[in-house]
Amino acid sequence: MASNTEPPAPDGQERLRELLSIPGVVGAGKWQISRDPHFHLVRYEVEIGDLSGPVGWWISNFSEINLMVTEAQTIDYDNETRTRSFHPPRMLLLRGKSLSLLTHANRVYAILDNARRPDVWHVATRLEEIL
């Protein structure tokens, strides 16, 4: 199972917290992949906002899977079109009923409140700044 016991880097946590100042962003998190060659674990690092419990861990796992599918998808699009128009993907967005999940390819996510319609392009750019 994933561990969220390791303290996140202060700078990264602070930058995640800054995301909440964007209207419509209600949560954010970051994860990384274990470098252990035998275990390909997703490690949930930071989660802030109105989320609680293991939800951030699930989101991290799902996002990792979704990013892999998107990575393959964009490579195939480029092969089909004989261009470099799709790969590499930068972000993935799932619009849910009330909330949306915006995932950046550098393994950071934000939870959006659909009713407040945040600027997705702007949030993606801010996510990109968090390494």
Binding site: F62, I65, V69, D76, P88, P89, L92, L94, R95
Partner: protein
């Protein structure tokens, strides 16, 4: 709103709509009902297959997140999108997808709502 109308929206360069046989529990190969704009039958089919796959994944994930959390409402997933290096793809629950030029930075919320209102194209 027709599929062609979507081409008038900012940033949209191609559109397509598909259906799947035996929609529901079984997984059928998507069939393109209509495509327009700068696309090809092969690209439209590839996009339909991938977005269908992502939509299934996303709906499964959203329902699980709802069950594992208190008060979160992700399910059902109404739209999915990814931003590629130059172009992005957006798909909605009624199996409509568009390719966007990233430089235009269209309003995702407005666009996905327009896509959801698109009439079914004849098979």
């Amino acid at each position: 709103m027709t599929l062609e109308d979507l081409l008038d929206q900012r940033g949209v360069v191609s559109v397509w709509q598909w259906s799947v046989p035996h929609a529901g529990r079984s997984f059928g190969t998507p069939t393109i009902r209509h495509a327009a704009g700068r696309t090809s039958p092969e690209l439209a089919e590839l996009g339909a297959i991938y977005m269908e796959l992502l939509a299934h994944l996303a709906n499964f994930e959203a329902s699980l997140l709802d069950r594992r959390s208190a008060g979160l409402e992700f399910s059902p997933v109404e739209a999915i999108a990814f931003e590629g290096s130059r172009y992005s793809v957006v798909a909605t629950g009624n199996r409509v997808a568009v390719v966007l030029d990233n430089r235009e930075r269209p309003d995702f919320w407005e666009l996905s709502e327009s896509m959801s209102r698109t009439e079914d194209s004849p098979p």
